[in-house]
């Protein structure tokens, strides 16, 4: 079976759990930005939780099914409409051949996930079906979906059924203001004590330049750098370093003005000092931030980061148990 794209939406891509192992040559992880919602969608339709699904950004697509299927929509709050009738979110439902699935505008959150029983059956490249846009490979022809694309759907490995629900308290929260926990480090020592304080004290708003590569934040006070003679090869700006690898979730502040958090389509390295890293448990939250949503950065240590990671994993385990 296949689904045909009638309207592509703003940035709809095929994504899965990602493509680790090639960051050393500049090929990033890719995969669903909000892994939590992505996994929930797959579990609802009885897929392996790493199966490829559609990530729909800000403006969701409109599509037509050529065969019956079981589907589920999770993540951002954009009401799915089947032939004009609203369907539940965070719950599997059935579609028939010829049905048209559209979405309301995104009231909350930035990324909705559409999983289809059987998964989207695009070729596996370097171990993943995820789209890597900059490299123009993976997913559907290495790009965002366009009008007329026909996505092949795999055969379901387990019987899927409609009406499977995500327990309400386990759905991804979609706040307009959030806290993002940061382990300071990397080149944190390069900013002044005052900037180390203001960075965590200020409220930052998501700038329009926010995508799968990185999220840019504005409205906080600019950061000041400690005086030094720039090292050989680093470049003249005090925010420059000798080009180095960028961790996922690392926060760079070019010129000290607007922090950029790198996400799963990250550029793998460059010459801007990073002042810390968002903890792994909070990366999904970033994926659900629309432009102008607010964040405060909260300083945590490694132990707290590991504890938050355990909580995150425990939530996923509860979903797995609930949907078994």
């Amino acid at each position: 079976m296949a689904i045909e794209i009638v309207k592509p939406g703003l940035a709809t891509t095929v994504q899965d759990a990602g493509r680790p192992g090639y960051y050393n040559v500049g090929i990033p992880l890719s995969g669903a930005l909000d892994q939590y919602s992505f996994r929930c969608a797959n579990l609802l339709v009885g897929n392996d939780e790493n199966a490829a699904a559609l990530e729909c950004t800000l403006l969701a697509p409109e599509l037509v099914f050529d065969a019956p299927a079981i589907v589920a929509v999770t993540g951002a709050e954009a009401a799915p409409k089947l032939n004009g009738t609203v369907q539940p979110r965070n719950e599997s439902f059935a579609v028939q051949a010829g049905d048209r699935l559209a979405f309301d505008f995104m009231r909350l959150g930035a990324r909705a996930y559409l999983a289809i029983a059987g998964g989207i059956d695009v070729p596996v490249i370097l171990g993943s079906r995820s789209t890597y846009g900059l490299g123009a490979f993976g997913g559907f022809h290495g790009r965002k979906l366009a009008i007329g694309d026909k996505l092949p759907i795999g055969a379901p490995s387990a019987p899927a059924r409609a009406g499977r629900k995500l327990p309400g308290e386990l759905a991804m929260p979609l706040p307009k203001e959030t806290e993002l926990r940061v382990v300071p480090g990397l080149y944190f020592h390069r900013i002044t004590d005052e900037s180390a304080t203001t960075f965590f004290a200020d409220t930052w708003a998501v700038a329009p330049e926010a995508d799968r590569i990185g999220y840019r934040y504005k409205q906080g006070r600019p950061l000041q750098w400690r005086e030094r003679r720039q090292p050989f090869g680093a470049g003249s700006d005090p925010s420059n370093i000798v080009d180095a690898g960028y961790p996922y979730g690392s926060i760079q502040v070019p010129g000290g003005v607007e922090p950029i958090i790198l996400h799963r389509d990250a550029v793998s390295g460059g010459g801007y000092a990073m002042i810390g890293t968002i903890i792994s448990a909070d990366m999904d939250k970033i994926a659900q931030m629309q432009p102008n949503y607010k964040a405060r950065f909260v300083r945590v240590d490694l132990e707290q980061a590991l504890a938050a990671r355990r909580d995150y994993k425990a939530r996923l385990d509860r979903i797995r148990a609930a949907l078994r």
Partner: protein, 294 residues
């Protein structure tokens, strides 16, 4: 060598970032290569990415499999046990044809002139001036004259960062654009700070632009012979020698690329940091001999 003591820092719960030195140097690069090679060989469960860079490296791991403290211990242990024999590597030298001062990078740089330090000069004219060359031709000869070391691959898929194999006083150094461009032609030869780069894909960039190569360096379809092993051609440790070509040769090579018959001149070579540092000019001449078989 002056053994810089590495600085270790956690990138939250999934990364260790290790800075070997603040300055760029071949010693730091080699140390990073030796450590990341040793780590690769150890096959440590839970390690998911090992990324050597210019004077630092990055390791990503799964903290559910290996505790961050244990990860750190292993890296520090490898650094302590590092011998000096790793300063020699078996690598390859590659000729990269470059059409300098080509119309495409020229058109692009003119579009972004207001983001440049010197809006009235081209990137080549500006770089020649700030590096003390009396003409663009002299500057190009210097750029194509010495080999370059691939000291990092990344930013985007398959993009090599190149460190010029010359005494520091002779290394080309240029500022990056005041504000990055939103466009750079694919396969542009660029330079920023002390690093050269070959843009593997079209996209944003802040390096000065000097020319373009007809040779693809990233190809997910792996069409040309030198992509047999992988879709990214360059590896850290590769040595690059540029060769000036003109429009006629560029067009001919491009036709070969389209026909799938284009290949690069690649020769195996053993590189010794010690011998290179003792006599860079003489060593580079030998490298050229190996590349061209004389």
């Amino acid at each position: 060598m002056a053994a810089a003591t590495a600085r270790y820092s956690f990138g939250a719960d999934e990364h260790v970032f290790v800075e070997l030195s603040e300055d760029m140097s071949l010693e730091s690069f080699f140390k990073g290569m030796a450590i990341t090679d040793a780590l690769t060989k150890r096959n440590v469960p839970g390690v998911t990415e090992i990324c050597p860079a210019n004077a630092s490296y990055l390791v990503r791991f799964d903290p559910d499999v290996i505790h961050p403290d244990r990860m750190l211990e292993i890296l520090q242990q490898i650094e302590r046990e590092l011998g000096t024999d790793e300063l020699e590597v078996a690598t390859r030298i590659i000729e990269v044809p470059v059409y300098y001062n080509d119309p495409w990078t020229r058109e692009t740089l003119m579009r972004f002139r207001e983001r440049h330090q010197d809006p009235n000069a081209t990137d080549l004219e500006y770089s020649a001036k700030v590096n003390g060359y009396s003409s663009v031709d002299e500057f190009i000869d210097a750029h194509a004259g010495s080999p370059w070391f691939v000291s990092m691959v990344g930013f985007v898929a398959g993009l090599p960062f190149l460190f010029q194999m010359a005494e520091r006083s002779k290394q080309i150094e240029t500022p990056k654009y005041l504000r990055p461009r939103t466009d750079t032609p694919k396969l542009t030869i660029g330079h920023g700070g002390c690093f050269g780069a070959i843009y593997s894909v079209r996209g944003a960039g802040g390096y000065q632009m000097y020319g373009i190569t007809p040779a693809p360096i990233f190809d997910p379809a792996q069409k040309l012979p030198y992509f047999r092993d992988f879709m990214c051609f360059f590896k850290p440790g590769d040595i690059v020698k540029y060769r000036k070509i003109d429009r006629t040769e560029y067009d001919r090579m491009l036709a070969e690329v389209d026909a799938g018959t284009f290949d690069l001149r690649i020769r195996p070579v053993s590189f010794s940091l010690e011998q290179f540092l003792a006599d860079p000019a003489g060593y580079n001449k030998n490298l050229e001999g190996i590349l061209y078989g004389h």
